[in-house]
Symmetry: none
DNA sequence: CGAGTTGTGAAAAACCAGTTAACGCAGGCA
DNA sequence: TGCCTGCGTTAACTGGTTTTTCACAACTCG
């Protein structure tokens, strides 16, 4: 479960810390270099830990619009996020695929 | 923040809990890894406890179409469901066969 | 027993996700 | 302006998973 520490909408998931307000995601205090979309997607996923989110839900929150049919944007960004998270946190899989449905963020890996 | 998104149509059958809205089926709180079809079939069966459902009824609700003659899809998926449920809940038989008719879900095993 | 029905493993087909590359666009800068 | 860089988007290829179909074994019941 994510713990918001009072004032800011800070998200914690093990060694990962997300500070949406500051456009920053940190692992062990070191900032990941994420693009805007990547950070938005990560924030959205991490805001709903353990909840399976459909591509439509993710697209709605991050892109703030409807995906066109056969849109693979979410998949592409999940892949990029995994690559960057995997660099900083090997052996830990935070983003899980649910075939036919969408993705789920698990703070426990 | 709300735990379930909205008041979902949650189904309970002993230690088994089904949350169709969240695409999840849990035993003792632990999620079963079911495919879409498996979950749909389980949900349909569990939505009509103690009622014998014909293959046609099940096919109509899950596949949303008419089965072709000699279609065994329902049987195959019942078999797979039983296997996965049996893993999580040994000694308990939730899905019963009614020869010549169809299947029945019994929450009491 | 014997005909009809159901259980189930496995091949085949269909579908879906992971990943990489290419393209266009915008901003920075000499 | 012309070049460079980085991001977002789209397309295409690849590999993996799910669904469907088939074959045969096991079972039910008269």
């Amino acid at each position: 479960m994510a713990i918001g520490t009072g004032s800011s909408s800070q998200l914690l998931a093990g060694r990962l810390e997300i500070r949406p307000e500051e456009h920053a995601a940190l692992v062990d205090g070191r900032p990941l270099s994420l693009t805007m979309r990547e950070l938005q997607l990560l924030t959205t996923l991490a805001s709903h830990p353990q909840r399976i989110m459909t591509r439509e839900e993710l697209f709605a929150e991050v892109w703030r619009s409807e995906p066109r049919r056969d849109d693979r944007s979410v998949d592409v960004y999940v892949s990029r996020l995994r690559a960057k998270l995997g660099q900083a946190l090997p052996e830990i899989q935070l983003i899980h695929t649910h075939n036919g449905i969408g993705y789920r963020f698990s703070p426990d890996g």
